[in-house]
Symmetry: C2
Subunit: 232 residues, 2 copies
């Protein structure tokens, strides 16, 4: 007779706010882990799969139109990961563009990943896994579209990459690499200069807003094909 088991979904929703990678969490008011911060999510419904479920549950915390990308990270299934009845979690990474400022419930707030408050259960491990996934995919896919506004200057994009990756990025090379791979294209418009002057910056956009692998790792690709990521 198996122990009763629930299935939940949890989302580490990441956004770059104030040049820092932050995660959305809500503060638990009830035990267990009262006062600690938890990821949004909840029980899987009877008539939905985990992808639909996480989208539905996020709708209660943030405006859905602002979540530009959602993907499965992993299953967290330690029998003792939460006290009481067994609960298995499918963890997701969610991304929100830097220019969005979704209204969130009163018990909910953004926290920099570098200064996380006490987290509930195993949610810190989920956040780490989500951050690692984001960093990896920023480098070999066009996933930046999910962090950036619809239009942006190269230096704004550079700051997003620096915040997400945690290491310096050259604006010069960022622009050239991403345009060569047809990930970025100029909109034709210019951004006004700041108060101190300076040349007005050109605005760019991502050519696609769905995930695509752009750097199909050089080593073992079929012979005779260039490296560009499948240009249609």
């Amino acid at each position: 007779m198996p122990r009763p088991t629930e299935h939940e979904v949890l989302a580490a929703v990441l956004q770059i706010r104030d040049d820092t990678l932050q995660v959305l969490a809500w503060q638990r008011a009830q035990p267990p882990d009262s006062g600690r911060w938890a990821l949004p999510g909840g029980r899987l419904g009877d008539d939905e799969d985990v992808e639909r479920s996480v989208v539905r549950q996020l709708a209660e915390k943030v405006d859905l139109r602002e979540v530009t990308h959602v993907e499965q990270i992993a299953v967290f299934s330690d029998p003792d990961r939460v006290p009481g009845a067994r609960r298995i979690a499918t963890a997701f990474l969610g991304l929100v563009p830097a220019d969005a400022d979704p209204a969130v419930p009163a018990d909910t707030a953004w926290h920099p990943l570098t200064a996380l408050p006490a987290t509930a259960f195993d949610h810190a491990a989920i956040i780490d896994a989500a951050r690692d996934r984001l960093r990896a995919k920023l480098s070999y896919t066009n996933l930046g579209f999910a962090l950036a506004p619809r239009a942006f200057t190269i230096s704004a994009l550079r700051e997003l990459y620096v915040a997400a990756l945690g290491h310096p990025v050259s604006a010069t090379n960022l622009q050239r690499v991403l345009t060569r791979r047809h990930v970025l294209e100029p909109t034709g418009d210019l951004a006004p200069p700041g108060p101190a002057g300076g040349r007005p910056a050109a605005l760019f956009r991502f050519t696609e807003r769905t995930l695509r692998v752009t750097d199909a790792s050089a080593v073992l690709r079929p012979p005779g094909e260039p490296d560009r990521g499948a240009v249609p």
Copy 2:
């Protein structure tokens, strides 16, 4: 009152046999999907997480010492993915070296991915996802260690890569790329030539037998650092 739900684990165990990528499956004797081929796996036990569970269940089908790598692929959770009580599956990729020939139960057999018989439930999608994961990781990690014998010639390794990737691979460049990245090293021994003669081939081994990223995608790495995959 939520619908009762079980959690199962399923493994797409892949091996290269006869220069072809094959998957281990067993033929169902009972409905539903009687006669169709299913992936090994089963219900998650009360005192184990999904990783331990898949290892335990594989022990019933193949000798565990032969499974050199296991990793989570994704959760499959469509409410109607199997008839009857709801069942959520965590899918895994498992790999067995080409020189192993594990004893398997009578209802169990290997099948080339290119000529799969009728599969049960959504298992074909799981097999596809596992194959895609294998192909991707072969290119940017040292995952080849899990497909290859402990020692091998470069041309044997080349055939493994061809079978797994499905496109031609140059033995010359394969050797140079993998040794430059310190993924491969010579054992110092030689393999005897075949019946038709020919120069005896040097034997190589993988320097590590745990997963490591060897090509940390060039674009956005920190400045001033070479591309080698974190050589210890």
